[in-house]
């Protein structure tokens, strides 16, 4: 039973860490954005204050059952996916369920949050929400293709679908997958631009077009819960990318306190740098129209993904 206790403790620790890191990154991005825009900017912990304020709203209106469930659904989906991805490369403190899930399963699970959002937004009856959901799903169709191609390339190259094994391979050979299959990596990187929904791919909640899209009718606690879910999802995507392409973080053979802390440090550095790519891109670019965004993803990123698959098939 000690094992189970450790697991539960690890799971709670993982969730707290994912939430904190996701929120803090959001705050850092706000601060950096402000500096780029010649401003002083809000404090780094501003997102926590916003969340606290939203959660302490005294009235909260829900539009029907799905409107009530959508934020819960999102956070459940976020925590579930979080359990299935390796946090520190098989570190004993954060084992969670990462040994049981594989990439294909993860792909399915990551859509779950959006699905909850879609159902909830549909029930609010706001046309902006409906259009926002349609746009979100269209965009997902766009970026999922290069992303899946990149993952397929990795699966073919290393003959495994397990995230754990993919990380292990990088640890053993010392070569990051980003270099082992650069085409797949680039395809996935470009797809990540759409995944993080910064400009030019913020078409879902485009303020000048759709107010704030699917979340138009959500306020107070619901919006706060969605914000937390979003923060966890950001951390999930970043960690997954780091483990798939950047050799993960931490040493699977050493689970001592120091090694764990060092692993967390490396994870933070890698995820932050990765996070900066869509953010940098977003600072200086206006927004695409929906069909332009899809055309973008089906252009170069998809081509790179196909090359990545061919590379995996013929050169390894």
């Amino acid at each position: 039973m000690e094992d189970l206790g450790l697991k539960i403790f690890g799971a709670i620790l993982t969730t707290i860490m994912a939430f904190t890191v996701g929120m803090t990154y959001g705050g850092i991005v706000r601060k950096l954005t402000a500096r780029v825009q010649n401003r002083y900017g809000p404090p780094v912990y501003q997102n926590f204050l916003d969340l606290l304020k939203l959660q302490s709203k005294k009235t909260n209106i829900a539009h029907g059952f799905m409107g009530h469930m959508a934020p819960v659904w999102i956070i459940i989906a976020a925590v579930t996916v979080l359990m299935f991805i390796p946090i520190l490369n098989g570190n004993l403190w954060f084992p969670n369920l990462s040994f049981h899930g594989d990439l294909i399963f993860l792909l399915y699970m990551m859509v779950f949050g959006s699905l909850g959002m879609a159902l909830g937004a549909g029930q609010t009856g706001n046309p902006n929400s409906a259009i926002g959901v349609t746009r979100g799903l269209s965009q997902m169709v766009g970026y999922e293709i290069p992303f899946v191609l990149a993952l397929v390339a990795l699966m073919i190259q290393f003959q495994t679908t397990s995230v754990q094994d993919l990380t292990q391979v990088q640890h053993e050979t010392g070569v990051w997958n980003a270099f082992a299959n650069p085409f797949a990596f680039l395809a996935a990187l470009l797809a990540s631009l759409g995944m993080f929904r910064y400009s030019p791919f913020d078409i879902v909640g485009a303020p000048a077009e759709l107010a704030s899209g699917p979340v138009s009718e959500f306020g107070g606690k619901y919006l706060g819960t969605m914000m937390s879910g979003g923060a966890v999802f950001a951390f999930i995507k970043l960690t997954l990318y780091v483990h798939l392409f950047f050799g993960g973080a931490g040493n699977p053979d050493d689970s001592g306190i120091l090694a764990t802390l060092a692993g967390i440090g490396i994870l933070l550095v890698k995820t932050f740098l990765l996070y900066m790519i869509p953010v940098f891109y977003g600072w200086i670019n206006p927004r695409y129209r929906t069909e332009q965004a899809i055309r973008y993803f089906w252009g170069w990123p998809t081509a790179l993904g196909i090359v990545g698959v061919l590379w995996a098939v013929f050169f390894n």
């Binding site: 706000r30 401003r39 009235t59 306020g219």
Partner: protein
């Protein structure tokens, strides 16, 4: 939730602290004062350092900023927007024309005195108020929030009949849903 002025509970204190530092302003330029809002939000005056940022829809907003005079046609929309906002919510009257009509005191289409129709927390006077004045108005609102004195939504709920009768005096064709939360 009781909000005793003298003895705030620790929960209230934390809540008020968060509310104070995170004010989502509804992006609704109801009048000409809206021209100074971009200046307030952007690089020279940068209101975001106080946690003030724009919100796109009334559901997400905390502060309704009435930027200037309200025509009767807009008043109807403002009431609708105000009622959609979630409590605790605050209203800032911006510019002289919200106080007493200002230079439009004799216009047949603008209201004089915003607080007859919706409760107002803070008035910022001037025509038009400079960004510094706007920020000082927000700081004043923050002080009120921290002292637990900004209870706009409660005031509206408790005196709903008073406000309704005033509103219906002006808006002739009343086709709006009831205030139900």
């Amino acid at each position: 939730m009781e909000n005793d002025k003298n003895s705030q509970k620790i929960v209230d204190y934390i809540g008020n602290f968060a509310r104070k530092h995170s004010l989502f302003v509804l992006a609704y330029g109801t009048g000409c004062g809206a021209i100074e809002i971009p200046a307030t939000m952007t690089s020279r005056y940068d209101a975001e350092r106080f946690g003030i940022r724009g919100a796109a829809t009334p559901r997400q907003a905390d502060v309704l900023l009435i930027t200037g005079y309200l025509s009767t046609k807009t008043l109807k929309r403002v009431i609708r927007v105000y009622e959609q906002m979630q409590e605790p919510k605050y209203v800032i009257g911006f510019g002289s024309c919200t106080v007493n009509g200002g230079m439009y005191y004799d216009s047949y289409n603008t209201i004089n005195g915003l607080d007859q129709y919706i409760p107002v927390d803070v008035y910022i006077n001037g025509c038009m108020p400079r960004p510094e004045a706007v920020i000082s108005g927000f700081v004043k609102l923050q002080e009120l929030i921290m002292a637990g004195k900004a209870n706009n939504g409660e005031k509206y709920r408790e005196n709903l009949e008073h406000y309704r009768s005033n509103q219906k005096k002006i808006i002739k064709n009343w086709k709006m849903p009831d205030y139900n939360w």
